[in-house]
């Protein structure tokens, strides 16, 4: 059934349909609409789950680690400072091999205080062993949340479903809300492989000396590798029930493209419009949307970008001292090809600054005209700064 839904509420609908058992969360703008709607669902009985209203994000994730270790399906949502506070337990959740799903609303980190969109919060957690899926639309948010449980429970690793602050979390779009029967057909009941059980007492997360620790870490890497091979299988199953698929990456007219724009999140939607305009003008331009960031779909990226002359990666994030993070990953994926495109790195839209068609046009024009590709990231639209004296 199609409804006009806020992006945050699309997450909440998916969590309800996924039959989550334990939710634990702490409020932070712009995540609050997700947990408020879930609170309503729990209060009016539409979702039969325990909602733990804990005293911090750190405790929110700690509680879910306890709940998930006891063998039930779990959910939390956070953003920015909240995600940063969870950092220690992000490692804990993946190390304990728990299929926890989190909605993470991309918001800038302080100081200065800024509640608007920026990907640095989630990308700073890229090494924590969580899958990361970046969404573009309300429908994709709902679908990806359901897919996240399938992936998490298949490989026993946690997942972040990531959506841009306000541009997606607070934007209303038509969203098809599937029936419970449809969802059950895609996502079976959770069958934990291990759980705390007095009939079979085991110790979890205990001391792991050098003779065993490294194998445990290698298992996590293998599970991440498995995600790449299982993603297509998951989407096949999803497609049978819902008739939609997204791909770990989505290429748009990349086959004959000389220049390919690489995007993630809502910047992709604006880039789609630009790509169509430019094609109409006779430009051989393609667009590659990266949805799955961890594990990084390097094979797909190589296959799609390898034949282009130039690639322009647009990052709404920055790793200070290294530049745009998607650009680093794309460059790393391409570096061993004997013939490879020049990879331009652009930083745009930090802290919620609009990335308009005009900004994207400038990026395209610069990529096309520039014969020498700079190693460093190019910051788009910086204002002149007058320092106080």
């Amino acid at each position: 059934m199609k409804q006009v839904l806020e992006g945050s509420h699309a997450v909440a609908e998916a969590v309800r349909l996924a039959r989550v058992n334990v939710i634990s969360a702490y409020p932070i703008t712009p995540q609050t609409h997700i947990v408020e709607r879930l609170s309503d669902f729990c209060a009016d009985g539409r979702l039969d789950a325990r909602f733990l209203r804990v005293e911090s994000e750190h405790s929110a994730l700690a509680a879910l680690i306890g709940a998930s270790s006891t063998g039930v399906r779990t959910f939390t949502a956070t953003s920015s400072q909240g995600l940063a506070l969870m950092h220690e337990l992000l490692h804990w959740a993946s190390g304990a091999r728990l299929p926890i799903v989190m909605a993470e609303v991309n918001r800038a980190l302080a100081p200065g205080w800024n509640i608007w969109t920026d990907q640095t919060d989630s990308l700073a957690q890229r090494d924590t062993g969580w899958m990361q899926l970046y969404c573009e639309t309300g429908q994709e948010v709902l679908d990806t949340t359901l897919q996240a449980y399938w992936l998490a429970e298949t490989v026993n690793l946690p997942v972040m479903v990531i959506l841009d602050a306000f541009f997606l979390s607070h934007t209303y779009e038509p969203v098809d809300i599937p029936s419970q029967e449809q969802v059950n057909g895609f996502l079976p009941d959770y069958q934990p492989r291990f759980q705390l059980d007095t009939r079979n007492p085991c110790a979890f997360n205990q001391l792991a000396p050098p003779n065993v620790y490294m194998e445990m870490r290698h298992n996590i890497q293998q599970a991440m590798d498995q995600v790449l091979s299982r993603f297509g299988q998951m989407e096949d199953g999803f497609g049978v029930v819902f008739g939609r698929r997204y791909g770990e990456v989505e290429p748009l007219q990349c086959d004959d493209a000389q220049i390919i724009l690489v995007t993630s999140g809502t910047i992709t939607s604006t880039s789609r419009a630009l790509q169509q305009q430019l094609r109409a003008d006779g430009e051989r331009v393609g667009l590659l949307k990266i949805k799955l960031f961890r594990p990084f779909p390097a094979d797909a990226v190589r296959r799609i970008l390898g034949g282009a002359q130039k690639v322009a990666v647009i990052d709404r994030n920055c790793s200070f001292g290294a530049g745009g993070i998607f650009a680093q990953e794309v460059r790393a994926a391409l570096c061993n090809l004997s013939a490879r495109p020049l990879v331009f790195s652009y930083i745009a839209g930090l802290g919620g600054r609009d990335v308009t068609l005009d900004v994207l046009k400038l990026i395209y024009r610069h990529t096309k005209d520039c014969e020498h590709c700079p190693d460093d990231s190019i910051w788009m639209g910086l204002h002149e700064v007058h320092h106080a004296t």
Binding site: V22, S24, E55, A60, I65, G66, E88, T198, L207, A208
Partner: protein, 295 residues
Amino acid sequence: MQLNVPDRDYMHSGHVGCPGCGAAVAMKFVLRALGNKTIMVLPACCWSIIAGPYPQSTLQIPLIHSAFETGGAMASGVRAALDVKGDKETCVVTWAGDGGTFDIGFQALSGAVERNEDFIYFCYDNEAYMNTGIQRSSSTPYGAWTTTTPGRDWKRMRKKNIVEALVAHRIPYAATASIAYPEDLLRKVSKARSIKGSRFLHIFASCPTGWRIPSEISVKIARMAVQTNIFPLYEVENGRKYTINFMPKGYLVKEYFKLQGRFKHLSESDLDQIQAMVEEDWELLLRKAGVPLQG
């Protein structure tokens, strides 16, 4: 001496605690009273090591090791999952040291008991960060040497009164207990297990390594802490009803202090000052318990 306590152990005979470890004694007795329908959350502490490395376990109950500051939160999640599964029989407990309780875990503990989560929180108190090598915590008593309060910089702050902090949350049950009084300890564990909501047991667990005492006087020292009123045995129901379980025999605190290397730098006047502090705390407790002051 024959103790009137259950004799079924849920702790294996092998563990890697130090000789004379009070925390190992505490675990042994507590598990006897809890039984095996118990799931334990274990934040970082000496017991993270004592419980054994993968793939072994010292305990015969399900055990989940947790990050240092998450004892209250992780137990909340385990309880919620059991509730969803309809398991009312299993008791969820947290087993934490004083650092994980008084300091880094205090926020999560306060949050959990404010929500009146249905679990028992055990703090075994050895009065410093012993697992990392005897660093001061907010449970370290006034006057103590630790490796971060060395030489003339011995600790000049009072020990945080953790039980009163928990009592202020009006939880159903909060009590102190000691490894030197196992019958009192087991009675309190059984009582706590029979109550719903948040329950807190503060167990005095001596540490020969950190306190600089011979391992064979570990239990004796714990007994003296009670007898001198340094660690009174009492329980508080619903944040209001105080019951003192042991009335003192009039021992002076200096008898307790003089046996321990961690206090050897203290002068007679320091000890007199500590005696006055202990008496002040004791009188405060008597007032709360409605017991008339003597003398």
